[in-house]
């Protein structure tokens, strides 16, 4: 891939200079803190509000380590996907629209390198944010639930969460390659999210969807048996390069 290293350095510098890196990390850390706290204090807060409003009550499960991990996974996955969409939606579309893609691609730089640099840089940003977000969540969980739980399992959960985000980045990058509009690219990502949510509920193929990896990931963190996950994990590992190849095939012949 001609020029990959140079373009990757440019992409990483762009994440830093445009403050997107800081914004994403801040969001992940914020929701990393909020995850354990939401689970720990939600019941008390709801009960307190209920008693203030004269007996109004909502059934909230008591705080637990399992609930804590669910909150961490939910928070970081949901807001992580939003960040992945925001990072990837304009990455190619805006460069095509502004003409910077044309400027770069009349130099000795391959189109595959142009796309790969973006996918790797966004994945790296999301990776650092996931490490920091789940790291903070881990510390808060230890403070709130001083029960021993597997760090390796928790790390496996974080790694799976990150890979889900990378998969959504690859989908949105494909959308951004197909269109000249960042909004349309985000639309592609959101539609894919919706379809995967529906397909994820189906038997047989459901467990292979990226969004279906959450449950086994949490089981790993709890030190429980996640069930048969080799197939879904391998499928999702292959999904990202497959999406990248499709993006490249589209972009290879595209006129700028």
């Amino acid at each position: 891939m001609m020029g990959l290293g140079i373009l990757l350095r440019k992409e990483l510098r762009e994440q830093l200079r445009t403050n997107r890196f800081i914004a994403v990390v801040a969001v992940f850390v914020l929701f990393g803190i909020l995850g354990p706290l939401t689970d720990r204090y939600m019941k008390e807060l709801v009960d307190a509000i209920g008693s203030q409003s004269g007996g109004f009550s909502i059934a909230v499960p008591p705080p637990s380590l399992a609930g804590d991990l669910v909150q961490i996974d939910k928070n970081l996955s949901q807001f992580g996907i939003i960040c992945a969409l925001l990072l990837a939606m304009g990455s190619v579309a805006w460069e095509k629209e502004r003409g910077t893609a044309g400027m770069i691609l009349t130099k000795p730089a391959s189109r595959a390198a142009f796309l790969a640099a973006k996918l790797i840089a966004i994945s790296a940003t999301l990776g650092v944010a996931t490490i920091l977000g789940t790291g903070v969540a881990y510390i808060y969980t230890l403070l709130l639930y001083p029960t021993a739980f597997s760090l390796a399992g928790y790390a496996a959960m974080a790694a799976l969460m990150w890979w889900i985000l990378v998969a959504f980045t690859a989908i949105t990058l494909l959308g951004s390659t197909l269109t000249r509009s960042a909004i349309a690219a985000a639309g592609v990502g959101l539609v894919a999210l919706l379809i995967m949510g529906i397909v994820g509920a189906l038997p047989v193929i459901g467990p292979y969807m990226p969004s279906s990896l959450g449950e086994p990931a949490r089981a790993l963190a709890m030190g429980q048996d996640p069930g048969w996950i080799l197939g879904p994990v391998l499928f999702n590992l292959a999904l990202v390069p497959a999406l990248f190849v499709i993006s490249w095939l589209v972009f290879r012949r595209q006129e700028l």
Binding site: M2, G3, I6, L7, K10, E14, R17, T18, N19, R20, I22, A23, A26, V27, V29, L30, I33, L34, L37, Y41, E44, L45, A48, I49, S51, Q52, I82, C83, L86, L87, G90, W94, R98, G99, T100, G102, M103, I104, L105, T106, K107, P108, A109, S110, Y140, L143, L178, T179, R180, A182, V250, R253, Q254, E255, L256
Partner: protein, 442 residues
């Protein structure tokens, strides 16, 4: 009391654990975004900083996110008034010549720099942007590629630089076939888009360094080349500034700089001066003219005065067809009609109209153009015209302050040939082309 239960729930530890980190993060991100927004050279989508400030401040957490991901516009330069001082916008003719004297000259060769054979581009919906273009551009020339808007100039440049694929035909640039892969074409060319946009967050020197690296330069050679290019385009003083703060003229010069970093054999410039003020135009034309002998320059434009100033050959394109190609002097000799200019004395009511009426209908008159104080008479037979014009002026009763046979301009030739070539006789048959955006951009 319920309130005391609430207070009890949120004890000091909880407050420290829950509220402080969250507030610090949220407020910190918001203030950071607001600080970024009100940087002097920052541009935002929609142009309203107040609107973005409200979004950042009021839309909890997502405001700053939206601003950083959607709101910031890093591709545009500064507006007039925000730009760097004029002292940062000077290109010195001496320094350009001094640096270019150290660059390798183009090898003496009879091979053409650009050759196209039947090059055709048809967009989705059957729009024929370029129709069997056969063109040969001699090595070392400064070549003006002329045509009205929509003639197919930009399409040709996109085909020659590899940004678009030809529907039919072949072409080569510096001996390298267009449409291939592997970077061989890119290593031999430089390209400047008609509206050059760069990464606004980058500094001028960083952009040139990155482009140099893509061309395989590194170490001392890279640093030296970047320095030379900055000197040629007169941006040495502004090299450490963010491109987002550059004026339109500075961006244009940076665009030429990035196109020159590899000492290209062929430099493609798409409307390089059309958006510039007279001073900016002069600077860019100075650079282009100094490149003679160092690179073949292929320049599309519709500003004919500039072409006459710097180009030695031109091609005129209309409706995707090549109308004519050749050295400027040859075209003027072959196609320019001799023109006589008659300027009446002031304070003679209707003088211009009376002069025009006196000339009209004469067999040797090709065309008459009137301006508020000048009548321009294009003639078919200069010998007859030379003898006949003055008696007709006397008969019209108009006194002249000026009567001269003017040198026909390239503009006269251009307008005549474009008018004569007209639109294509038959509309092209629509051929569906698979296009991802379907916009048929030229």
């Amino acid at each position: 009391m319920a309130e005391s239960a609430w207070m009890h729930t949120l004890d000091a530890t909880t407050i420290a654990l829950v509220l402080i980190p969250i507030l610090v993060l949220q407020l910190g991100l918001m203030l950071f975004a607001l600080y970024d927004l009100f940087q002097e050279d920052r541009r935002v989508r929609g142009d309203s900083k107040i609107m973005w400030a409200l979004i950042i401040a009021l839309v909890n957490l997502f405001g700053p996110l939206l601003y950083f991901f959607v709101g910031r516009d890093d591709s545009r330069g500064a507006e007039i008034g925000d730009a760097l001082p004029a002292s940062a916008e000077k290109a010195s003719a001496d320094s350009i010549a001094r640096v270019l004297a150290t660059w390798p000259s183009l090898p003496q060769t009879t091979d053409a720099a650009v050759v196209t054979t039947g090059l055709t581009k048809r967009y989705g919906g059957g729009v024929l942007a370029l129709d069997h273009l056969n063109l040969t551009v001699p090595s070392g020339s400064i070549f003006g590629f002329l045509g009205p808007n929509g003639a197919g100039k930009t399409t040709t440049l996109r085909l020659l630089t590899g940004l678009a694929m030809a529907t039919e035909g072949t072409g080569s640039v510096a001996g390298v076939a267009i449409g291939g892969s592997g970077g061989e074409l890119a290593r031999n060319i430089g390209y400047l888009d008609q509206d050059p946009r760069f990464y606004g967050w980058m500094r001028g020197r960083e952009l040139l360094t990155m482009v140099g690296q893509l061309h395989g330069l590194h170490g001392a050679e890279l640093r030296g080349r970047v320095g030379e290019v900055l000197e040629i385009v007169g941006l040495t003083d502004a090299a450490h500034r963010r491109i987002g703060g550059y004026s339109g003229g500075m961006r244009q010069r940076l665009g030429i700089g990035q196109a020159l970093i590899n000492q290209p054999r062929v430099l493609f410039l798409d409307e390089p001066v059309s958006s510039l003020d007279p001073e900016g135009r002069r600077d860019i034309l100075e650079i282009i003219s100094k490149l003679r002998g160092t690179a073949t320059v292929f320049m599309s434009t519709h500003i004919l005065n500039d072409v006459e100033r710097v180009c030695d050959r031109v091609a005129i394109l209309n409706y995707g067809h090549l109308v004519v190609e050749g050295p400027i002097d040859e075209l003027l000799d072959r196609y320019a009609q001799p023109v006589y200019e008659l300027e009446p004395e002031p304070r003679q009511p209707g003088a211009v109209d009376r002069l025009a009426a006196a000339m009209r209908g004469q067999a040797w008159v090709g065309e008459i153009k009137t301006e508020p104080d000048v009548v321009r008479v294009f003639v078919n037979d200069p010998k007859v015209a030379g003898a006949a014009i003055l008696p007709l002026v006397v008969a019209s009763g108009v006194n002249l302050v000026r009567y001269e046979r003017a040198r026909p301009s390239l503009e006269d030739v251009f307008l005549r040939l474009v008018a004569e070539s007209g639109p294509p006789v038959a509309a092209p048959a629509p051929v569906p082309v698979w296009g991802l955006d379907g916009r048929g951009r030229r």
